[in-house]
Every structure is written in C-alpha cells, then in structure tokens.
Symmetry: C2
Subunit: 480 residues, 2 copies
Amino acid sequence: MSEVQESSSQESVQEHLQQIVEILEKQRLVEGLVHKQEMPRHELVESLVHKQHLAELQKRLEGLHSADIAYILEALPLEQRLAVWDLVKVDREGEILLEVSEPVRETLIAYMEPAELVAAAETLDADELADLAPDLPEDVMEDVFKALPVEEREQLRAAMSYAEDSVGALMDFDLVTVREDVTLEVVLRYLRRLDGLPDHTDQLFVVDRDEALKGVLPINLLLVSEPDRLVGEVMKREMLMLNPVDRAAEAAQAFERYDLVTAPVVGERGRLMGRVSVDAVVDYIREASENERLKLGGLRQEEDIFASVWDSARNRWTWLAVNLVTAFVASRVISVFEGSIEKLVALAALMPIVAGIGGNSGNQTITMIVRSLALGQITHSSARALVAKEIVIAVLNGLVWGGIMGAFAMFLYHSAALGVVMTAAMTLNLLVAALFGVFIPVLMVKLGRDPAVGSSVLITAITDSGGFFIFLGLATLFLL
Amino acid sequence: MSEVQESSSQESVQEHLQQIVEILEKQRLVEGLVHKQEMPRHELVESLVHKQHLAELQKRLEGLHSADIAYILEALPLEQRLAVWDLVKVDREGEILLEVSEPVRETLIAYMEPAELVAAAETLDADELADLAPDLPEDVMEDVFKALPVEEREQLRAAMSYAEDSVGALMDFDLVTVREDVTLEVVLRYLRRLDGLPDHTDQLFVVDRDEALKGVLPINLLLVSEPDRLVGEVMKREMLMLNPVDRAAEAAQAFERYDLVTAPVVGERGRLMGRVSVDAVVDYIREASENERLKLGGLRQEEDIFASVWDSARNRWTWLAVNLVTAFVASRVISVFEGSIEKLVALAALMPIVAGIGGNSGNQTITMIVRSLALGQITHSSARALVAKEIVIAVLNGLVWGGIMGAFAMFLYHSAALGVVMTAAMTLNLLVAALFGVFIPVLMVKLGRDPAVGSSVLITAITDSGGFFIFLGLATLFLL
C-alpha cells in the first residue's frame, strides 16, 4: 500500500510500532545506566536524552490517526503502553479510547485521573459516549452528563437505553435535515453555510414540522438535478428505514444486501431519531465475527496480549471447565465397559477413532445448518428434505470411511468380527452426529438462543460419549 | 424493521420466500391432479391456473431487489429454483448471478443457454464480469469479450489479471475525475450534465493530463466551499492510495480503521486505475469470515443446501479424511501401550480426559496468537514474553485442573499414584499445547501460509497423540 499521508497503510503502522518500541527501549537503557551508576553528570545526560526521546515520540504520535495510536497501544506491554499514553494530547484521548479493544481500554482508564477522564469524554458525541459509558467510573459519567447540553443529554439517554446488539446501539445523531417545499438551490445555499457535513453523508433526510421522515435526498441527485427543482420532486420516498429496537445483525444484512452508506432510524409515528452509517456496520460485522471466533476457540472474550497471567487464565477457565466436564462424562461411559476392554484391549486403541469422526462430521452438519438458519433460508418444507439428506450422507460416509477403518482393524487385529463392529459403530455414530447436528441448532433457535454459541461443544460431547458407548456396547454384545 | 419500499427488510424477504413457496406448491398440486386424471377439461383449467400463478410470481419478482431474488433462489430446491429463474427478466439475470452463492450460481449457469448467458453477462460492468468469469463457459466469455468496447475490454483484462484476494479483485472502474485548475462552479455544472453519479461517490478524483492522481475532492467539501474557489485549493492531497497488488485484507483493515467509503487504486507512475468502494469491502469481510467459519467447521466450501448427496459428501470428505488419519495415528500410539492398559484398565477410561484438555487449551492459545499475528501486533521483543506467559498459564492450569482430575482419579480408583500420574500428564500435555499453540501459527506465517487454516487440526492431532503418549507412558513407568 503506497500513500501520501504518512500514517495510512498497515505496513507503515507496523514500522511506526517498531520504531516506537526502539525509542522506548533506548529510553529504558538510559534510565537503567543512570540508576546503576547514580552520578549527577549522568542524571543530566539522562534528562536531556529523555526529553529528546519524549519530543520525538510525541511528534510521531501527533502525525498518526487515532486508530493507529490505538493499534500501537494494544501492541505495547503495560509499562510502555502507559508511557506512550502520557504523551497523547487530552483532546485525542476520547477518540482513542473508543478505538482500543476493551481489555486495553480498561488498563488505560484505570490509569487515568477522574478529571482527565471527564475532559476526554467531553470531546465525544452522545453516541460515542454511550459506547464508552459502561467502562467509565460512575462519578465520571455523572460529571460528563451534567456538563452536556440538554439535547445531547437526551441523545445520550436514548443511546444508552438500547441493547448492545440493537440498531439503537449502532445509531448516531449526525443528521442533516431539509424540508420538501424548498428548491435544491436553497438546499445548496444552506449546505454552503455549514462548516462541513457529517462523515458519510450520502443523503439528506427530508422531514416535516413534526420531525417525521418523508423521504431522503441522495447527494448524488442533489448534484445532478436542476437547482430550481423542489426537494419534494427529487427526493426518494421509497427507502429502507430502521427501527432502534431492530436487531443489529438484521441492519448489517440490509447494508450488505442493498449496498447502503447510511440509513435513517425512525421511531414512533415516523419520527426521525438518528441514522446508522456504514462505518458502524463494518465495525459491527468485524466484531461479531471476531467474537464468534473467540467463542469457537474457547475464549470468553478478547484478550489483551499483555494481560496478567491471572486475567488470561480466568478468561480461559469457563471453556476448560466445560470441556473437562464433558471429558469426565465420556470417561465414565468408558469405565462402564472396563471389563470388555480388559478382555479385548484393542477396543481401547480403536475407540477414539469412532468418537473423533462423529465429532468432525457433527460439526460439519452444524456449521451448514447454523448458516442457513442465520440467513432464514430453511423453510418448513425444506427442513424435512435436509434431515433426510444428512441421514443419507451419514450412512454413505459410514459405509465408506467406516468400511476403510473396519478393514484396517480387521487387518491389524486379525478379526473380521472386530472389523464389522468398527464399521457398524462408525456408521451409527455418524447417524447420531447427523441427527443432533440438525436437532441442536434448530432447538436452540426455538429456545431463542444463538445457535452459533455452544452447539459445537454440545455435539462433540454427544458424539464422544455416544461413540464410546456405541462402539464398546456393540463390541460387548457381539465380540465377547 | 419497518419500511416504505416493500422489498427492503429481512422479515419481508422471508415472507416473500414463504409466499413464493406456497404458490409453487399450489402449482405442483394442480399439475399433479392433471397428470393423474388426464382429462382435457382439466388441462384447460391447469393452463389457466398455471398462467395465473406465473403472472403472480412474475409480478412479485419484479418488485424485489436483485439481492432478495438471489436469497430466494438459494432457499429453493433445484426444481422450484429453476422455475423461478425462468420468470426473471434477462436484463436482471447478470446482477442476480453476481449475488447468489457460488454453488447456486453453478446450478443456474448449467441450466442456461449460451445465448442467454451472453445476454445476461453483457448487462454487467467490467469488474462485475471479472467476478463472474471463472464460472462462465469459455465460449460464452469469448463472445462477451468480443462484444465489449475497447476500453471495457482493457478493464476486464486488468480486473481478471489480479489474484482473488488482492485489491485488484475488489476494484471497480466507476470514477468521476476532474482537473485541479477549474473552479468548483465548473465542477458542479459538469456533474449536473451527468445522468447520475456512480454509487458510493463520496469523492471525485483529481488527475492531470497523464491520468496521474493529484488529490481527491470530497463531495462534502464541494458542497460547503464557495463555488469560485479552484479544485486545486480545496482538494485533499493527503489520502490513502491502494495498489492493485496489495492484499485485500489490508485494504479492508484500512477501510475499517479510517472509516472510508471509497479509496483510489493507483498503478505505475501514480496513474489512477480504479477505486475500491465500501460495499465491495463489506462483501469481502463477510466472505472472509464465512470462509474461515466453514474451514473451522470442516467444510471445504459453501454448500448449496439443496446440493445432491454426492456433492455434499465430497465437500466434506477432505476434512473427514484428515481427521481419520490423525485419529488413526492416535490409535496407533495407544496400541503401543496395550500391555499397560490390560494390566490397569482405568487408563483407558482416563486417557481421553488428558487428550481433551490439551486440545481445548491448545486451541485457546492458537486463537489468541493467530489474531495477534493477523493484526501484526507481535513484535520481536514481545514474542518471548508471550511464550513465557503461555507456559506459566499452562503450568497453572495443569496444577489446578489437573489437580482436580487427579483427585477424582484417586477417589474413583483408590490409587494416590494414579492421581499423581494424572495430574502430571495433564500438566505436561498443557505445556505441549502451549508450546505448539505458539509455534504452529508462527511457523505457518514464516512459511507464508495463512495460520488460521489447519492450525486447529494440527494442534488437536498433537495434543491427542501427545496426551495419550504422555499419560500412558508415565503410567507404564511409574504404576506398573
């Protein structure tokens, strides 16, 4: 990525990061020398070098975009992170706090004085404040709230009242509104009197006296239409409108499908409340997929890579505990058949294969079903066909892969009966995987839960214990 | 989601889907009756009802956005899908083919006549054609290529020359360019002569005679500045520029960080080649996270939910085969210790716990490291600290969870020695998981591979076989 502005590309951010780390390390070296020798002359040198380094760092930081400073703060260990944070001007701190990941934000806020926090928060818009509010100390939020103008206070209250995954949480209040009975010429003159338009302004919102939304005037139409035409003639009356209590995921799908840049948010009696813009949607999509990845990987939340051992360990314990419980159950299932294993020890070596292929296949089914459910593409009439298909695939896979493994078992242990039991157990466990792979996510949706979370753990638990039970059970019945 | 336009919200799309399915089923019922009774009167009725149904369907489809029709096609079984496809007007087919998922696109293209495909393809822009090209038959592409104007032919050739995950693949050619020595008034008059601006036009590109990019003129500045000022005075000379061979993921990160709507793509000697707009970036982000989820779930690619059993099974075989190989290796590790298991059968019941917790913990480490590597936030100096931290966490988790499981084992099998071996094995396997959890993704990056793909399978294979080996090995040494 080439660039004119110094701070733009990712390579360049990484170079900045590298250079900042180098300055910080030189700095520490100087401090280390001084502490070791404790000589007045060195103290003088230190303070000079120190000031030089700080000035260099500060200059470098000033040239960087807030998002880039956030990136660098995340990549620095706590001590260096706070040293850099001290050099950031207070009027940029609010914006940067919005950009950093939550665990890193916590380390910065814990380090800041209340007065500094209030000053940083006051630089933000109401919708940004609402995002930051849960991490701020209560007394700081009270001070900020009191200092707000009435209108923004209302906006903040509104923004904070919506659930985290609702459209209301994505909404901002940067609206430019016009009336439908004026000419485009008047609109153009009105805009020219403004210092600038809000970011991502691709359309103006046309409202009546009661703030009810009548239509939108795309900037593109404003530019290509004759100036003497009326807003009401040019504006579009058909448009996507969001409701603040809609799910954010639905809004994101709409932005993706209809290639939107902004969309109006409308409350009771058609009143225009705010807008959602594509940058908030991009952040939402990225965060949602990030969270899903973390959950699939068994982490409770995003981890500050420099978090203490204790914080990191706690972040991982929930899923380790769940995993141990399911492994313990599987272990108890095996222990029921200890007598059989004692008689035919080959069973112990073969049983993880039966459990493993069930887990893998079940996760494949779940991945496909969860995706189709999320898109709402499974209709009543197609559901039955889907289950039937999964069953046929399970039997096919069982015969093919189970057959191969059965042949291996037969060859390794010189027992045709063992081979047949192996094939039968794998086929049956694949059937279990297919049935629960459809059943679990469908049930979770019926219970109003997110099928993407926990389905994978559940199916693996079932195919593990189920696989051991089926294989050892069949072996006990037919081989001993 | 409320709306004015009928086709906008997701609920509404799903209602449309439901109603279309109902019409299609009524249709089939009528056809079924007729075939059964084979009476001329019925044939007449059938053809009337048939025509009525088709007209109703067609009207409904015409009111829908292309993305919504794509959604409905994906949710219909093959027969009904093709019936609906027949009713879509040919001038919309190109756009809809772009929107549907790849496996569904293949079913539609396979069904279309070459002449129809050429007609559909000719409605598309060069950058869209490039996306569709890999799925079109060669002779169709040749015909389309010949019919293109020279300029678009060049654009198509350029767009097709870039790798799938490069900026060039996201680029479009919808540029509005201006010169820097004209006034804003002239620009406004120039725009008014156009029928419309390209979608997502948030800035005009300022170029010289050689098409070299000199700056960008944000529409917002065009609107709020005095019309007698020159473009060169108002335009921004500092901007993010992309190169067509940059990685698409980097461009996506830039859009996300700097909240962009469009960014210019610049080639040799600063020549403006095209632009990337946020809708392409949103699609890219969504697809990338979708692909990752499919791979983590063990699917090779997105699956048409109505694909044949054979196609679906093949889509899943790669990962099932990999899984079987790793399970087979683990099974062979166990078989080495069959003698020990025969003597102390409790080992068979306990060994999956040791393997399981190692896999879970290793995946946690990998998830965190892959994320930090993707962001480029691991510096040389922080890498060592990270490894040290993962080791400390592994030992901590080993002592805590291994201790609990050791106590269980001691209690269940009345053997303190077995409990100690259990705890030691779990701690050691967690250490293996931590070391390889850092080592595998770092190595993959060094080898120039994507660490998100396959790392999870590898770590699970290592912690399974490793867990069995450590536990059974320790037991053989100290218990027998």
